[in-house]
């Protein structure tokens, strides 16, 4: 029993040491530009590349959980696909801290009233929408996304977009 207790304490200490990557200083992140549903529709319609649109909020646990996956997807496919984040019903400081913590270095917009989320459909956050060039919706994923789904839908975008 004592050995198990020691092991648990050791693991807890090790886990505490492994904090978030925090590779970016929050002061390096500029305030997120405000946007509206209309502006996002225009962005989607005029994009020459397929778009992965992620709707997130810093207070949303599942958004934190999927953030490393989106970072990885952007690093791998950022040249072929435009990654866009829309932060909804949030505060600027928290949003910037979230981006710094997860080093999400693709374009992000701020939508305090959550208009984009309402207009593009779906309930709650996170949501991930996949658009072909020109703005046609290819796939809409509600809730936290997994690697398989993200990779599959990116592949679909690249083959059909």
């Amino acid at each position: 029993m004592r050995r198990i207790a020691v092991l648990v304490v050791a693991l807890a200490v090790a886990a505490t040491a492994c904090g978030p990557s925090g590779a970016v200083d929050v002061t390096d992140i500029p305030p997120l530009p405000e946007t509206t549903a209309e502006e996002v529709r225009t962005l989607l319609a005029t994009s020459e590349r397929p778009v992965v649109l992620n709707i997130w909020a810093s207070w949303c646990g599942p958004c934190r959980s999927e953030a490393p996956l989106l970072r990885r997807a952007h690093r791998r496919h950022g040249d072929e696909i435009r990654f866009v984040g829309v932060d909804v019903r949030d505060a600027q400081d928290e949003a910037r801290a979230f981006l710094a913590e997860f080093d999400l270095d693709f374009e992000h917009y701020f939508d305090r009233p959550g208009e984009v989320q309402r207009e593009l459909g779906g309930i709650g956050v996170p949501q991930t929408l996949f658009y072909a060039p020109g703005g046609d919706l290819v796939f809409h994923h509600n809730g936290v996304i997994d690697e398989r789904t993200l990779a599959l839908q990116i592949d679909e975008l690249l083959r059909t977009g």
Partner: protein
């Protein structure tokens, strides 16, 4: 809200239960089913939890400061951590008769894994893999791209192995530990064979599957040549 993951877990649990029930009194001792059920369930739960913690640490998320993230299993479970934890848990709970109990659990464990993969049918796009022109290719709704039903391939391989193990035990019981070891090899081999057909954002832990296959075959060979004996 979608319940595909929960559905897959349910199919896996039912498959384990069904095989244990079928084997009780036929190819397994009638009184060991409950112990096996408890041990397999515990191994699955511990494996899932440890795999999730390892995935969080790998992604730079602290499980101490954000314990709620542990429950968001869909975000990722580290296969190496989960497999090691599940095997160690099973080994520890069954340490008094490890090789015999591993043999008794082998078919049920493979059936559970088969059920887990077949659970993709709850949400068909979860079965899809890399593109193919084969006649049995599946497509996502609204897409012209045919894809390998890769999870169904894995489910089929594992289910066939589970049936093969039951038949083997019924007609020619191999030395203790051989089936349990081969189950590890089959589980790893089925992933190794299907991994190239899975869409992913990086290479999967192919080294782990290869290591599992070699270790499983090696252990089986060792137990075949030097059968375990009951210590009194």
């Amino acid at each position: 809200m979608e319940f595909s993951l929960l559905g897959a877990v349910l199919v896996a649990v039912v498959a384990v239960w069904a095989v244990l029930r079928f084997e009780a009194g036929r190819t397994n001792a009638a009184d060991c089913s409950r112990d096996l059920w408890d041990a397999l369930l515990l191994a699955g739960i511990v494996g899932l939890a440890v795999g999730r913690v390892v995935a969080m640490l790998r992604d730079g998320t602290n499980p101490i400061t954000t314990p709620g993230d542990l429950l968001i299993v869909r975000s990722g479970v580290d296969t190496a951590g989960a497999s090691a934890a599940a095997l160690l848990t099973f080994g520890w709970t069954m340490r008094r008769a490890l090789w015999w109990m591993a043999d008794a659990a082998a078919a049920a464990a493979l059936a559970g894994l088969a059920g887990w993969h077949a659970g993709c049918l709850v949400r068909e796009s979860a079965c899809l893999g890399t593109p193919t022109d084969l006649p049995w290719a599946l497509t996502q709704a609204g897409s012209p791209v045919g894809r390998h039903p890769v999870e169904l391939y894995a489910a089929l391989l594992l289910a066939l192995a589970a049936v093969g193990f039951v038949l083997w035990k019924r007609f020619a019981r191999p030395p203790a530990g051989v089936l349990g070891s081969l189950a590890i090899a089959v589980a790893a081999g089925s992933r190794l064979a299907t991994e190239p057909m899975r869409p992913s954002l990086g290479s999967g832990p192919v080294w782990l599957y290869a290591a599992g296959l070699v270790a499983g075959v090696g252990l089986a060979g060792w137990r075949w040549l030097r059968p375990a004996v009951v210590r009194t």
